[in-house]
């Protein structure tokens, strides 16, 4: 294969304040290869890619395309040099069709003809094996279809160097496999593909070479065939790490939270929870798997009393007195007044669980400030709690009076989880608690959840990494489109099985129970 250099990055640095997001990074990408950019969260992968795509501008260093030094000040510049990036968050106009979104902003001097655009989109899609209807509106599309539109948008503009930022984060295992097939076809066509990821098995299955970044610096670039996941992890983290999650057998299991036929509609009247029933038990971790936006958030928020279902029951079995209470339609204060110790680590940490501009002490106070009859707040006990959490969970912060928004993602999460655990809950709900966290912090969080489970807490864990779910959870409930599509035994399931349930619609669930062979079903 003719290995000509497509893109060369030379000694590029980028600082945010005094923080080096990238420090003297070198990178070479050849035509017709897939290069994985691997690194922990916050290691500067996305910053580096954003500089190539024209979102950021490097403080120093040079970028060359085809041996020519170039200046990329905007995404438009990037496109002129044949570089296109597919971001994690899609930028699509919902009421436009796929083709309309794709052609939006293209100024090629030709008269606009949607027929011609449709034809060209279909042609490109055909060439690389995408399944897409150019005339379909975005709001009717699944997440993976939207991603396809984003990729086509970049190809339509003639990009030869494609950057994908964690493309599999929103996909099921089956959809990921399909995407990877497409990427391989592009590689054969001579495109250069940079794929940002932190999932090791993906790196090993798709890439030709791997570049590992750590703390903004380029650690190594190796050929994929000559490396192992253990070696890559070591490069990423900087030391050997044991990636084992303990899963002790549940002890003294009894029903704690019983959800019966819960349904909810959103502000537009769309059903977001559809007849959900399950039981969460003490002493076990119940995992909830599903594509993002399948109703996970609404489910947890209904239990926490933040939004209100239209039908159903949320029955709490109080371990103290054996009584049961229906928590539905009660607000968080009323729930606590019933003696229900429910802790909730929401998905949006700084926008819901914590207040970013307040210090750690004031954030501790969120849960406890109402205590007592004084009109004044008591900052002493929250202050002690803050110190205790900083110490026990090894939160790295100058002191307990630092605004939490200045802490790193992992430390923010430790503060939040620490506070929620400090309330000695009987039910602990955590939504995506390790999102954006580095490997060590993630395993700290898994450890904390397991410890709560051993204490007899009923833990509900909404996760996105299926590998982790099958290692950590005792039972896994899969939801799709607001419906429960299956509850599996965590010790006897595979992520492929979960993946199938994640895209299973209500109709499929009734029609087929043995449809495991169809991996490319375009179920909509």
């Amino acid at each position: 294969m003719n290995k000509s250099v497509a893109l060369e990055i030379n000694n590029v640095s980028k600082y945010f304040g005094s923080l080096a997001a990238n420090k003297n990074v070198d990178l070479t990408v050849y035509r017709g290869e897939i290069l994985a950019i691997l690194g922990e969260n916050g290691c500067g992968k996305t910053t580096l890619m954003n500089m190539i795509a024209g979102i950021y501008y490097p403080d120093s260093g040079t970028i060359s395309v085809d041996g020519q030094e170039v200046v990329i000040r905007s995404p438009k510049d990037a496109f002129r040099h044949g570089i296109g990036m597919i971001h994690q968050h899609f930028k699509l106009v919902d009421i436009f069709t796929a083709a309309e979104n794709i052609v939006l902003g293209v100024n090629d001097g030709k008269a606009y003809s949607i027929k011609e655009v449709n034809r060209r989109v279909a042609e490109i899609a055909d060439k690389y094996g995408f399944h897409i209807d150019p005339k379909k509106k975005i709001y009717e599309m699944s997440v993976s279809e939207k991603q396809t539109v984003e990729i086509l948008k970049v190809l339509y503009r003639g990009a030869d160097i494609l950057i994908l930022d964690e493309p599999s984060a929103v996909l099921t295992p089956q959809e990921t496999d399909k995407l990877f097939d497409v990427l391989r076809r592009m590689r054969e066509d001579g495109k250069s593909i940079l794929i940002i990821t932190h999932k090791l098995h993906e790196v090993l299955s798709i890439s030709d070479r791997v570049t590992v970044l750590r703390k903004g610096e380029h650690i190594a670039t190796v050929d994929t065939v000559s490396t192992t996941s253990a070696a890559l992890t070591e490069m990423m983290v900087g030391k050997k790490v044991e990636l084992n999650i303990e899963r002790p057998q549940p002890q003294n299991v009894c029903d704690r939270l019983e959800i019966k036929n819960l349904s909810m509609v959103d502000a537009e009247g769309v059903k977001v929870l559809d007849d959900i029933s399950f039981t969460a038990r003490s002493g076990e971790i119940l995992g909830i798997a599903g594509i993002a936006g399948s109703g996970q958030k609404e489910l947890l928020e209904s239990i926490a009393g933040l939004c209100h279902p239209i039908t159903g029951e949320i029955i709490y079995h109080n371990p103290k007195n054996g009584k049961t209470e229906d928590l539905r339609d009660k607000d968080p204060v009323a729930i606590r007044e019933l003696g229900v110790r429910l802790s909730f680590v929401p998905e949006d940490r700084l926008g819901m669980g914590l207040v970013g501009n307040m210090d750690i002490v004031d954030n501790m106070m969120l849960r406890s400030y109402r205590k007592g009859h004084s009109v004044f707040v008591d900052r002493k006990k929250p202050g002690d709690l803050a110190k205790k959490i900083v110490e026990e969970l090894e939160v790295s912060t100058p002191n307990t009076h630092t605004p939490v928004r200045r802490l790193s993602g992992g430390n923010v999460q430790k503060v939040l989880v620490g506070r929620e655990i400090a309330a000695s809950p009987t039910v602990l709900m955590a939504a995506y608690p390790v999102r954006g966290l580095d490997i060590n912090s993630s395993y700290t969080i898994y450890g904390l959840l397991t410890k709560q489970k051993e204490k007899g807490v009923s833990v509900i864990f909404v996760g996105e990494d299926l590998d982790v779910l099958v290692e950590l959870c005792d039972r896994i409930m899969v939801i799709c489109g607001g419906r429960v599509t299956g509850i599996l035994d965590g010790r006897n399931t595979t992520k492929e099985e979960i993946g199938l349930l994640m895209t299973k619609t209500a109709r499929d669930a009734e029609e087929t129970s043995t449809a495991k062979e169809s991996a490319d079903g375009e179920n909509v």
Binding site: D66, V355, R370
Partner: protein
């Protein structure tokens, strides 16, 4: 390759976000901005009024602090401004953009005058004053509460709503003035009753009351549960809901307080200063107060400084108008220039310009 060979022209610098800087450094930048702005004003003064820059600055200082009388006036004007600034602050901390302090204060003043007008000769002063205060507080709170209720229940825009309420207040004052002046002159002479007692100096009690109010506001916002709730709601309504704060309740309660303090300000203007009311009694202070509160980052203690500073600019440059006999728009120009610099310097506190380390030295050829 259909790649264009032309390079995009490279700017010598680009803008990047700055690391949060220590407090003393950011204060230094702000002070420097004020100094530069005043220097610029004095240079401008050289061209416009042929005064030398030094003369310009000394006249400013002289105008504000030059005599005992000016010093008292300065303290009085700062206090009134400070009082209204205190009023808008709880709402601002909650990210509720109350720009209706003008109307809330005016309607409070009207209520106080109304009480004095109708009851003035029937009850003793010692009873009249508390009644005037209560009336001003209640009416001010109502004026502040109405937009809050609408926002809480129906999500109306508070900025527009509070602004509109200003005009309603002005209209009401005009109506009552017509009603109260038999000749229809709409000029209500100074009331002979309902004066605050004079201690030490005619402005002394006013100043003390406002300073006490400042301390109370600081304690309320910083150390009480309600103050804490205001901060949480302001920072993130989602967090407030998550921990079970009733956001609507906090919204309404805080605006009632905001309006009530405006009412106090209105009462003070009537009881200690004007002893009457006109449609221009508040004279735009309700808007200047917004600036005072923002510049102090919503901290009541800092507001003592910012309200004094704004008053200094106004009073000092007004002196220049008198001494050099130029148009009265000059003070506005000075204030405009200074504020431009103060607000502009916030950019340099938050961001910095990065200059390219290496500009290209010839094309590299492989």
């Amino acid at each position: 390759m259909k790649m264009s060979k032309t390079h995009t022209s490279e700017l010598p610098f680009h803008v990047v976000k700055r690391e949060p800087m220590p407090f003393w450094k950011s204060m230094g930048i702000r002070v420097a901005a004020v100094v530069i702005a005043l220097l610029l004003c004095s240079i401008l003064a050289v061209f416009m009024i042929k005064a030398n820059p030094l003369e310009f600055l000394t006249t400013m200082v002289d105008g504000a602090f030059g005599s005992a009388r000016r010093l008292w006036k300065f303290a009085k004007d700062s206090s009134v401004l400070l009082c209204i600034s205190l009023a808008v602050t709880p709402a601002f901390r909650m990210r509720f953009w109350n720009i209706g302090a003008e109307g809330q204060t005016l309607i409070g003043a009207l209520a106080a005058v109304g009480v004095a007008f109708y009851l003035g000769n029937t009850i003793p002063n010692a009873l009249l004053l508390p009644l005037m205060l209560i009336a001003a507080i209640v009416v001010g709170a109502i004026w502040g509460g109405i937009p809050a209720i609408f926002k809480a229940k129906w999500g109306t825009n508070e900025t527009l709503f509070t602004l509109m309420m200003n005009y309603v207040a002005t209209g009401l004052v005009a109506y009552f003035l017509l009603l109260w002046t038999p000749s229809g002159s709409s000029v209500l002479g100074a009331l002979s009753v309902g004066h605050l007692p004079i201690l030490v100096h005619e402005y002394f009690l006013l100043i003390v009351i406002v300073l006490a109010l400042t301390a109370l506001a600081y304690i309320y916002l910083q150390y009480t549960k309600q103050g804490y709730e205001i901060s949480v709601v302001g920072e993130s309504e989602n967090t407030a809901r998550y921990i079970g704060i009733n956001v609507e309740k906090v919204l309404i309660r805080t605006m009632l307080i905001s309006g009530a303090i405006c009412g106090v300000a209105g009462f003070l203007i009537v009881g200690a200063l004007d002893h009457s009311v006109t449609t221009t009694t508040v004279g735009g202070l309700g808007f200047t107060a917004i600036m005072v509160s923002w510049l102090a980052k919503f901290n009541p203690l800092f507001m003592i400084g910012t309200s004094a500073f704004i008053t200094f600019l106004q009073q000092g440059s007004a002196q220049i108008t008198t001494n050099f006999n130029i148009d009265s728009a000059f003070p506005d120009m000075v204030i405009g220039i200074v504020l431009f610099f103060i607000i502009g310097c916030e950019f340099f506190i938050g961001y910095q310009l990065k200059f390219r380390e290496s500009t290209k030295k010839g094309e590299k050829v492989e």
